[in-house]
Each structure stands twice: as C-alpha cells, then as structure tokens.
C-alpha cells in the first residue's frame, strides 16, 4: 500500500504540494491527474525518495520513506519500478542490456536466468524482436515499452508511471494502457499513474485523484467522478477527448 498524508513540498517560493493525502491499496491502480506543474511528478518522486517532503508522511508498504537511510531506500527501490516519461534508457546499452541492468546489479541470478527473464518481459511488452537494438534507433513508444519492461523485470510490488503516454499516438497509447492494466491484473502490481489522459484514467485507473492547488481536490472512481458534475471532473474526464 502507498500512503501519503498531508505531504507538503516547496521549491523556492513556490508551494508545489500543499498537504496532499492519498492512498493506493495493494493490487490497485491509482491515477493522479492535474494541470501541468501541479506537482504530479513531484508526488511520484516523493514516493520513491528522490525528493524529500518538507512535512507530512509518505509510507510505502508501511515504511516511512522520508526518514529512510540510503541503504533502506535502495532496498525499497528494489521492490519498486518507475516508468519515466521518455523511458530514460541508457543510450550506450542495447534494449536487452537496459532491461537486464537492474537484475545484473542486484540479483544473484545466473546470466542465462537473467537472459530468460529479460526475454520474458520483452515478450510481454512486445519488444522481443528489438532486443539488440540501441535506444537511439527505436521510436518514443518503443522506448516507453522498454522502460516498462525495465521497471517490471525485477518483479516489483509497486510501479510508478510518470506520464506513460505523453506524446504518443492513440494506437501506441492504447497498447501502453493495456499493458498497465495487464501488469495489475496478471502480476498483482500496485500502480500509481500520473497522466493527463482521460483514456489512460478510464482504461487503467481503479481510483482517480485530481490535484488542485497542491492537494487532492477530487477523488473517486471514473464513474463517480464523471457523474459528479464537478468542474474538475468535467475538465479532466468529462469531454471525452483525449
């Protein structure tokens, strides 16, 4: 379970998070929506411990993230996956080497077991035929799928998705949404998805939270929010456009 309670974060004079509270139950996908610059990515970075909150509680699996030392944080991160907006692949490694990296660094698996695991996740994201390609030779959508494979290869309990369909065409976006839903359904992974996309929220989200002024302004299932008539819900979910 991921829980944030009254988390505040300020950069310079700008209050980004002003007391955000949310909880993501085990095995569910929580979709966090909100305007650009409203603190969605900062929320994810607080959860994985890259950014420390000024105040408030961030708990993952019952453990308080901001007070963790470096070793505890590294141990926690091994149980988590993170999908970056652009995939954030290491350019001098091939697709397969990128996916294998977290296993090679932390697991005690043999190289053949690593290869098998890498092939499995690449097959899952439909990238098994691009294993030897360089990240510079593949499209944005393919990079995202490789990034997702890398996030999943360690069989994490939690995956954080930062704008998983930013800049993608509707067909690739749909494939990514199906993958995210499959990760939850097949692997039982707890997910927190930051997105602007209504389609992503509808397809992947069990619960939706919409940020307003640095805290959750509206929360509920897709059906609850769309039927609420709330201006925020209309703005992010109501138009039907994506």
């Amino acid at each position: 379970m991921i829980e944030l309670n009254d988390v505040k974060k300020q950069f310079g004079d700008r209050q980004i998070l002003a007391g955000i509270s949310l909880s993501v139950p085990r095995g569910m996908n929580y979709v966090l929506m909100g305007p650009s610059g409203s603190g969605k990515s900062v929320t994810l970075r607080n959860i994985i411990g890259i950014v420390r909150p000024d105040s408030g509680s961030v708990r993952v699996g019952g453990m308080e993230v901001p007070t963790m030392d470096r070793d505890q944080l590294m141990a926690l991160r091994r149980r988590m996956g993170y999908l970056f907006q652009n995939g954030a692949l290491i350019n001098w490694l091939s697709v397969a080497q990128n996916v294998a990296l977290p296993l090679q660094e932390h697991s005690k698996l043999s190289s053949s077991e690593v290869d098998d695991r890498v092939q499995d996740v690449l097959r899952m994201v439909g990238m098994q035929n691009s294993a030897e390609q360089s990240p510079t030779d593949i499209s944005g959508g393919m990079k995202l799928r490789v990034g997702l494979a890398r996030a999943l290869v360690t069989q994490p309990e939690y995956v954080l998705y930062d704008e998983p369909n930013a800049g993608l065409d509707p067909i690739i976006s749909h494939q990514i949404h199906e993958l995210i839903a499959e990760v939850r359904d097949r692997l039982g992974v707890t997910g927190l998805i930051v997105t602007h996309s209504r389609a992503c929220a509808v397809h992947c989200g069990d619960r939706i939270g919409i940020l307003e002024n640095g805290r959750i302004g509206l929360e509920g299932s897709v059906a609850e929010l769309t039927s609420s008539g709330h201006p925020l819900a209309k703005a992010f979910l109501g138009s039907g456009a994506d």
């Binding site: 991160r77 970056f84 660094e105």
Partner: protein, 265 residues
C-alpha cells in the same frame, strides 16, 4: 541586490561547487570496491580516452618540443652552448610541458565529452533512472571514468614526453647544427642520473599526470552531474568542466612542482 551581496552569493556558489567536487572525489574513492564489476566499462573508457586524445596530443607534443628546442637553442647559440639542448628539452618536457600539454588536451577532448555525456544523462532523467533502480551513479558512471583518465593521462604523458623530445631533436639537428647523438646523449644523461628506479623528472611528471587525469575526470563528471535545464545546461556544464579543469591543471601543477622541488628537496 547590491555589490557585496552579489560577491557573497558568487563566493558561496564557488565554495558549494568546490565542495561538491571534493565530495564526489571522496565518494569515488569509496566506490573503488566496485572496480572489478566495472572493468569492461573502465577499459572501454580508457581506450576511448586514449584514442580520442592521442593524435592531437602527439601533434601538439612534437611541435611543442620543436618550439622549445628552437627558442632555447637561439639563446644557447649566442653562448656557444647548444650541446645542452637535449638536457633542457628533455627536462622541460618531462617535468612540466608533457603533463601540462596532455592535461589540457584531455580536458578539452575527453573531459568535455564526459561532462556532455553525463550532463545529457542528467537532463534526460537517465541519472535519476539509475538512482531509482538502486544503481549508484557514482560507481556506475563516475568511478570508471576517473580510473580510466587517471591511468591514461600518465601513459599519454610518457608518449608526449618522448614525442616532444623527438620534435626537439629534429629542430636541433636541422636548424641548430646539434648532432642527433649529442642531443640524445645529453637528454639521456639528464634523465638517467638518478638513484631511483625512475628519474625524479620522469616520476614527478607522471605523478602530475596522474593527479591531472583524476582532477579532470572528477571535475568534468561533477559538472555533468550538476547540469540542469536541457541543452543549455549541458553546454554550460561542458564550459564549466573545461574551464575548471584547466585552472586546476595549472594550480595543481604549481603545487606539485613546489612540493617536489622546494619542500621535499
């Protein structure tokens, strides 16, 4: 903001930057235990550094040695003492010019590319991705580069010394009428008269190169790791890396010379 405040802010930033570099160097030293795991990558880095810098270093070294012999020879000829040209060229190249030339060229070629590579990774979230995967960017990105340059800088310096002396010998023979035998004997006598395994001139020069290589890589990686703000930030990181490396080469060169030739005798 008034002038004293601006000066204070600038000083604070410089101290902060210097602190970051020192901290990075210490953390790199602490991560040396990961070297066996990073051997392949370190060798790749060393090979790239050597290949990238070798041609330009050799050209500059040959001409630097030639200029040194020419300028010194003009004066020595007035006193009829061109026989010591080999000694002067060899000592100058090994003590000072070899490490300095190699350091500056490595800073401009390899240091700049290190800052650009790591800076690009930083602004495109690749460094954050490593942290998120619990991969320490210091032992994964910085340590192999520092070791590679710390090893390659002395090796290139040894070549620079030799090529520079060769350049000097050609000028001595062609323009100053000093025979090759006299020049090389004079150079050999200057460098061989030592009770140590290596002559002091050579080992001090190679030690300087080791320090320069370490400093260039650390400063360049630090600049890359502090890059932000997209392509502009990467450009600034490269500029910072080269500028700080050259300043450090000069300052450290002075300190090492002072230590070995004045403090330690």
């Amino acid at each position: 903001m008034n002038a004293p405040q601006l000066v204070g802010q600038s000083l604070r930033k410089r101290v902060n930057d210097a602190g970051f570099v020192v901290d990075l160097l210490l953390r790199t030293a602490l991560s040396l235990g990961f070297l066996p795991r990073r051997t392949r990558f370190t060798l790749d880095m060393a090979f790239n550094a050597g290949v990238r810098a070798l041609p330009v270093t050799m050209v500059v070294a040959a001409f630097a040695g030639a200029i040194l012999a020419m300028q010194t020879g003009i004066e020595l000829r007035r006193f009829g003492d061109t026989g010591v040209l080999g000694t002067i060229t060899a000592l100058s190249m090994c003590r000072e010019m070899g490490p300095f030339i190699t350091g500056v060229i490595l800073a401009a070629t390899v240091g700049s590319s290190m800052a650009a590579e790591i800076g690009t990774m930083k602004v495109s979230d690749e460094v954050t991705a490593l942290e998120v995967m619990s991969v320490d960017p210091i032992n994964y990105l910085v340590m192999p580069r520092v070791i590679a340059l710390a090893v390659m800088c002395p090796l290139l310096t040894a070549l620079t010394d030799f090529v520079g002396i060769c350049g000097g010998s050609l000028v001595a023979a062609q323009n100053l009428g000093v025979s090759q035998t006299l020049f090389w004997n004079s150079a050999y006598d200057a460098l061989a008269s030592s009770e140590h395994f290596l002559p002091k001139e050579v080992y001090v020069g190679l030690f300087k190169a080791l320090v320069f290589g370490t400093a260039i890589a650390t400063v360049s990686c630090a600049a890359g790791l502090r890059a932000n703000g997209g392509a502009l930030g990467v450009g600034l990181a490269v500029q910072t890396a080269v500028r700080n490396s050259v300043i450090l080469i000069i300052v450290l060169g002075f300190i090492i010379t002072w230590f070995f030739y004045f403090l330690a005798g």
